[in-house]
Amino acid sequence: MFDKVLIANRGEIAVRINRACHELGIKTVAVHSTIDSEAMHARLADESVCIGPAPARDSYLNIPAIIAAAEITNADAIHPGYGFLSENERFASIVEEHGFAFIGPTPEHIAIMGDKIRAKETMRRVGIPVVPGSDGAVESETAAEAVAREIGYPVLLKAVSGGGGRGMKIVREKEQLASAFSTARAEAQAAFGDGSLYVEKLLERPRHIEIQVLADQHGAVVHLGERDCSLQRRHQKVLEEAPSPALNAMEREAIGSRVVRAIRTLGYRGVGTVEFLYEHGAFFFIEMNTRIQVEHPVTEMITGIDLVREQIRVAAGAPLGYEQKDIRFSGHAIECRVNAENPETFQPCPGQVTGYHTPGGLGVRVDSAVYQGYRVPPHYDSMIAKVIVHGQSRNECLMRMRRSLNEFVITGVETTIPLHLRLLANPDFANGEYDVAWLERLLSGGA
């Protein structure tokens, strides 16, 4: 096991990693920018090193400074957290070249999954479903119809050279295809000077469902079920839950074991998340995140597995020590991301937190780096806390989250707590009936 880990991050995830290290008996080194010298992650670590000025490019993204900090503190591993350098293959390479362990996958796996096209090809090759469609352009209406018949209606006709919705037509049934094809071809020709089209399955109201995986360096791979992260605003997740209200145990096991086989085939190590769109019982790969995710706690709550600890353990070469059949799912969990933002305009609201009191009691977890008197700097992400609740049922979680958010006192900065309370009072959300566009519809008054 490592003796000393440098945590190349800030905020709640740096605090999270620090906790996991201390619980493993590992010493920690925090790195921080000048503006973060009083930040919680720097206070809690055994040692801390100032690595640069406030802008992230000069500090938390400053590879030489982070490597030098690891050198002068004699750390033996580096945990990148999420964001910043966590999916930077060059950073992972440099870390390893300098003799430190990188707590994450190999640089090669980071590189593959960082390239959307390679990622999709790779995953399809190892048996993961992607959005079905034609392989490249379809020459004729007949060819398009053949593809559509195979993948099922509705389909989307898209200009190969297109973008911005031009040359794009939705086809809901065979009868519409002929006219849609000629219209789209004409539009594409007019707009891009290229009338060639391809066919893709249309996902109308998909959910975002992701599978958490965990692999050691000895070929053992398990999945820890799914998280439903469909509640998004501008592609930012707002609230996550596990299990998904849309999946049953059989579907979970089917997609989970498929992902496990793929990850084992790839020889991937560490934690990772395979993200899917899910509609009408089918999964379609979007991307893979090769790092710990913001929403990992909901999985921890229902499995009892400390994902960050496991990530550190397997990076040190330790075997998982358990198999898929040992993974038990217990109850339900929901996470609300609390951002320092106006809950209606979403305008970021940095500043001093003048009052701070976290909710407590049974089934409530708060992951945060905020304390009373802390100044939320304007330079970084606006997420300042995560409230995670666990309960025997989804309804228990909804009630528990409501009372927790009502207990949570944050004064001095505006937060998105009122937005979450609004979600919790919404009947569609209470029924689990939502998709990736639902929140935007709600916010625009359309849901």
């Binding site: 925090a30 000048t34 010298s37 009083e38 206070r43 002068i72 304390y371």
Partner: protein, 162 residues
């Protein structure tokens, strides 16, 4: 809770005996009512009973919360005391300091040396790379705050040129 009952009686020639029963009675009222003090004056006679409550640590620390002050090693805050010094030369990077070009060689500069702008003062090694730290202006080296091979943070003051 420790209770001290102090009765300070101002006795005069005319009233040689303090009224002990009254004091007892006042003490009883004190504990009955939870008061901390009762004072009675009449003419030149004055009786005061008080209960010093051990927990009365009213002295709140002027500032609100010091944050998690009791926490383990906190940041050896980059800007040290000397950072405000107008002649301070702060480290532009994290790394290990070398005060001489090679082991055994004389140092680049000593306290009292006159240096010219651009002159190498120290070397900082980061990621196996040697980075010369040059004088930002001409002047005299009045203090050197780092030792050979010491680790330095970003912003840490290395030396002072006046």
């Amino acid at each position: 809770m420790p209770v001290t009952l102090s009765a300070d009686k101002r006795e005069t020639a005319e009233r040689p005996d303090p009224d002990l029963d009254l004091i007892r009675e006042l003490a009883r009222i004190l504990s009955e009512t939870g008061l901390s003090e009762i004072e009675i004056g009449e003419g030149d006679r004055r009786i005061r009973v008080a209960r010093q409550l051990a927990f009365a640590q009213i002295a709140a620390p002027g500032v609100a919360m010091p944050g998690p002050s009791s926490l383990p090693a906190a940041g050896q805050a980059a800007p040290s005391l000397d950072a405000s010094h107008p002649g301070a030369v702060a480290s532009p990077m994290v790394g290990a300091v070398y005060t001489a070009p090679e082991p055994g060689a004389p140092p680049f500069v000593k306290v009292g040396d006159q240096v010219s702008e651009g002159q190498t003062l120290l070397i900082i090694e980061a990621m196996k790379t040697m980075n010369p730290i040059r004088a930002p202006r001409a002047g005299r080296v009045t203090r050197i705050l780092v030792e050979n091979e010491a680790p330095v943070e970003y912003g840490e003051v290395l030396l002072i040129i006046e």
